[in-house]
Amino acid sequence: MSVAETMRDGNSLANADANAEPLLRVEGLKMHFPVTEGLFMRRTVGHVKAVDGVSFSVAPGETLGLVGESGCGKTTVGRCILRLENPTAGKVSFAGRDVAGMTMGEMTELRQDVQVIFQDPFSSLNPRMKIGTIIGEPLRVHGIIKDATERRERVAELLRLCGLNPRFADRYPHEMSGGQRQRVGIARALSVNPKFIVCDEAVSALDVSIQAQIINLLEDLQEQFNFSYLFIAHDLSVVRHLCHRVAVMYLGKIVELADCDELFDNPQHPYTQALLSAVPVPDPTTEETRSHQILEGEVPSPMAPPPGCVFHPRCTRATEACTRDIPELQEFTPGHTLACPIVLGK
């Protein structure tokens, strides 16, 4: 059994209401990074299309998984939502308000509502700050708790909540293990009472036993505080365990988006099928006999993505039309959308 499956089963949409007004809505998000050349006269020679027209929404209390190969743009989507990058085009709205048009004051509010947990627990904490300062600083800067003693108490509470001894407040990050640091990262994100947390590969840098602890912690916290996660990952078993819905990305585009069980049990897009068949089955006899769908070739450069469907050069079912028409995400069954006209039969 995989790690995720050995943990308690948590796929029920306990807190999420599928019909609720989405907390976060992303529409046609594009992030193109210019590639420049020249020492004195910098000129743009091309664009890396890291994210190229991505749309999805996340309901309150929901966990949306975002999966795909390295370099497919998952992290960039997260960074655009966090406003660490300014998207080239498209709209990100949070609780009905457009993030792009926000004033400085509104932006500060948004910063408290949307938080992030990073992949690498070793580089996501300032090594020069004590744990107590790392977690307490947002409370002070945003004026959430002005009194120093109360702030210390709140920091201790947050540390306990994340399974850490409050005495760690006087320690430096380098005195902790990777799992403990990741808990500090979570406590920091929680300090401002966010509504939405971007987990950017939040468990992939941890070893397997610690992964399970952190995933359980994330689930417990979600049950307690009812926030939404955008869970960016490439470990599919973790995604299956944790997420309510899953979006599959390939070369800057979402190719398939469905409820978690539907996507894993009934994948429709050729890329999703290939991706899922790459997950090893922890049973040698099944593993030997089951059919593997191995993709030919490499992921094309995001600087010069193929015309039409970006997946067509590697797709087993591609037709001549695929090299011309850019497929749109369309409904396959209610709640299950994909971008492949062949599968959709259109």
């Binding site: 938080q115 904490l125 760690f168 380098h174």
Partner: protein, 298 residues
Amino acid sequence: MAVNETYIEIQDEVLAERTWGSVAKDLIRRQPLGAAGGLVVILMISAAVFSNQIDMYDPEVNDFGAMLQAPSWDHLFGTDEFGRDIYSRIVHGARTAMLVGFTAAILGSTIGLLIGVTSAYFGGWVDIIIQRVVDILIAFPSIILALAIVIILGRGVGPVIVAITIPLIPNCARVVRSSALAVREIPYVDAARAMGYGHVRIVLRYISPNIMAPYLIMLTTFLGQAILAEASLSYLGLGVQEPTPAWGLMLKSGAEEYAESAPWAVIFPGVAISLAVFGFNLFGDALRDVLDPKLRDR
């Protein structure tokens, strides 16, 4: 949450406190050279602070009955061509050297730090403009730049400090910028931005503290360099003026005429300069290791 509680209790055992005494002992055991450098630094600073208490004669009073005397119990380091006690002049010269050295080095490296971090953090046009200005300043040999500044501003301790500080700034800014470029990309800076912190906080609390290692190395080499530059300017006659005691000035008058007949007039100021520069460099290296929390427990 029962599992969490047990986990929290287990952590109690590894969280024993460290005392200051053990920290000091650690330093001497692990950084013997640094401790020696620290001793020299303390020696130099106390000589500067207590020069009125530990001198043997007035450093500025001539005694024509005792010109160019060899070291003896009356004059520990001998006397110069005006019969002034060299030991007393070195002790008082430490005051000039420390004043000019510390002020110039701290100002130079700190201004350089802020310029370098700002340049790296904002990038783009800000970076390009700052770096071209830095290029222009670096293109001047620092002693020539210092000479030009002294000539513009006039002589005296103030202008000398400015003249020594300005050539130090671009060097520090350049080194700091390259470190800051790397630090800027580390996720904790992104975390700070995601928290909605302002630019000033990110520059001062997130980037600057994490380039303390290059900063401290620059600061301590600058201390040595500034003491040397002060001596050089005095030697060239553009620094501190006679009869104020300054090491470079003593070296100058000694070296020109009496290097062979009265070598003590040259040797002792020379040793004072070298010892100060060497001590500060050793101390700086140790300081960097101690201040870096990651290296501390190794």
